[in-house]
Symmetry: C2
DNA sequence: GTGAAAGCGCTAACAT
DNA sequence: ATGTTAGCGCTTTCAC
């Protein structure tokens, strides 16, 4: 049904090899011939068949990306970075997002299946032993995003540092009774953020009471939800010594916590301050203080790293770690205080908000 | 390098055809043979090569999806619906998102390239003549999402109805001076929402003054941004007769409008009411009254429709149109008024919020 | 600069 | 139930 190089070759009075050379770019073909071939191809509406080319070249010009779920601002931005980088290099992007927890491994398997893609990006997936083995056996070039393993290239944010920074920020502002809200303990990022947070508190000569920590057991989206944050804050408020500042290890939870506060007629930050992690879009809108991850850049970096690994499979494994950036908004400091404490800080905050809303 | 059916065939003492049959499912193979083949394949770590299979079958089991941009809650939900449906049918998803306006057509071309995918989903792309021709010539099964054209299957929301409903809601609440904020006039959805909105106003025996309409000329994201809404609301507030209720044709703009209101020390809804369109995540969070599009369902429906068209290319073209659903929150009615007007409405609203935040 | 020919790994008649 | 064989459309040595 479709037109092939044979059709072109015949009409142009050349061999299929020549037509192939014309469309493969590099090779040397007489200018006259090249032109003639292009012209005829244009007339006939010829396009090289992708599958045939992939089979012959033993390469697909496709990269696949595996995600635990589709619905998250974080993933969207990462994908955007990936997509932009790949498009520039003329690669296409196959997206595999899990729907349920068990479904993820099915998706992973498809993604790494032989001949499907030249490389694979694995995002935010804890590498349990079985999964790890699957990946190691696949032999496909692979880079990890938002997780780390010594055997694979990776791009991630320094979660420990982020947690540490969050605690330092609260300590410096003079808050006394810290609270901590965490998503499901399975994924590493939450655990790491907690580690940094607790370290800073220890270093300040204080301690985090067990009753001030709420860990979600929500399997829904590993607790990365507004609801889980809402529940968590309610629980913390019910404790004997409610906190005066809480670190929610992801912005979704922080937003839920904020909601719980306002439902309880408590003011943020004067009654309870809140700091999140991620800097999702809504955070800028509601003025949530948080630690920003450079999501788009992480996507780009991961794609670039993968492209490099595809070129030279033997290069040493490398890990790119970004530092989370503290964005101070209104949930840890009242606007008036900001101006009084830091000269011109108000102006900075305003600009922050505008750009963050972009 | 990789293991092929030849390796399996040899070790199992059968022909490659038998091995192929085993892995292609359907055909009848002796149970003993099948088992033996599976066992050996397992040992050798065999996986069918995707490109070879695609070439031989003349089908890829891949669907590609083209989007104007990656960064939008709407697209994300649509993609999720698409992905879920495709995964169930064992299809993979290739995502092409434009980065700049001109880039979109490059992406479109790749998406419909011969042999790349068995079908294509085109989302939110105005079909200018050149683009239209490209699609018609490609011969690939295709369905449109969030836009309509007589030549192609499509899935969309009834924007005219949505605009109409928005106006009716405001009229019934007793608002007098309507304002209208629109994204860039190029994409059809905005124009259609305006049409419905103005019709309802005409039918109510009133008219919409030209000075009460603000159309964004922002090319950035076709004006689907918080900033464009912010600017728009500021402009409307500066008019001789500022509106007491405004319809923003997308939620991003509505959020910007809300921000402009609060920056001007105006209360919503008592000074100016605001109603949006889309029901993005943040809208639920800030209590924005809006018209919800069933994004996930639209994605699913589109994918299903595409799968059907791929099965029977000659079926008549069909269009699925969803009705937008009015979600009343706090930007058009004060909570107290809701309870006084509609019995039990408060409870409904609360439930709405919880589920919408999910 | 161009052509001939041997694959790439799998599928699908057709034959047995 | 299984084997033989001719492709699928393109790339890529190797000659000339």
């Amino acid at each position: 049904v479709a037109v092939t190089i044979y059709d072109i070759a015949e009409r142009a009075g050349v061999s299929i090899a020549t037509v192939s050379r014309v469309f493969s770019g590099g090779a040397r073909v007489a200018d006259k011939t090249r032109e003639r071939v292009f012209k005829i191809a244009e007339e006939l509406g010829y396009e090289p068949n992708v599958s045939a080319r992939s089979l012959a070249r033993q390469a697909t010009q496709v990269v696949s990306m595996v995600l635990p779920t589709m619905t998250s601002y974080f993933f969207m931005e990462v994908i955007r970075g990936v997509q932009d980088c790949l498009a520039e290099a003329n690669y296409d992007l196959l997206v595999y997002a899990g729907r349920t927890a068990d479904n993820v491994d099915t998706q992973l398997s498809r993604a790494v299946q032989s001949g499907r893609a030249d490389g694979v990006l694995v995002c935010s997936l804890p590498l349990a032993p079985a999964r790890l083995e699957r990946l190691q056996n696949s032999g496909v070039p692979l880079v990890l995003v938002d997780s780390i393993h010594p055997d694979f290239d990776s791009v991630a944010v320094n979660n420990v540092e982020g947690g540490y920074t969050a605690a330092r920020h609260l300590i410096e502002l003079g808050y006394k009774r810290m609270g901590l809200i965490l998503p499901h303990p399975d994924p590493a990022p939450g655990r790491e953020r907690r580690e940094g947070f607790e370290r800073a508190i220890r270093e300040a000569g204080r301690r985090l009471d067990a009753s001030a920590v709420y860990v979600s057991d929500d399997l829904q989206q590993h607790g990365y939800t507004v609801e889980s944050g809402y529940t968590a804050m309610q629980a913390l408020l019910g404790r004997a010594q409610p906190p005066d500042a809480v670190f929610a290890a992801c912005d979704e939870q922080a937003l839920g916590a904020l909601k719980a506060l306002s439902d309880a007629n408590l003011d943020c930050p004067s009654d309870v301050a809140v700091i999140g992690f991620d800097n999702i879009r809504t955070s800028a809108y509601v003025g949530l203080t948080t630690l920003a991850q450079p999501m788009y850049e992480m996507g780009r970096a991961a794609a670039e790293k993968l492209l490099q690994r595809m070129l030279s499979p033997d290069r040493p494994v490398s890990h790119t770690v970004f530092s989370p950036r503290l964005i101070i908004r209104e949930t840890t400091v009242c606007p008036s205080e900001i101006t009084s404490r830091e000269n011109g800080a108000e102006g900075v905050r305003a600009r922050n908000d505008l750009s963050a809303l972009a």
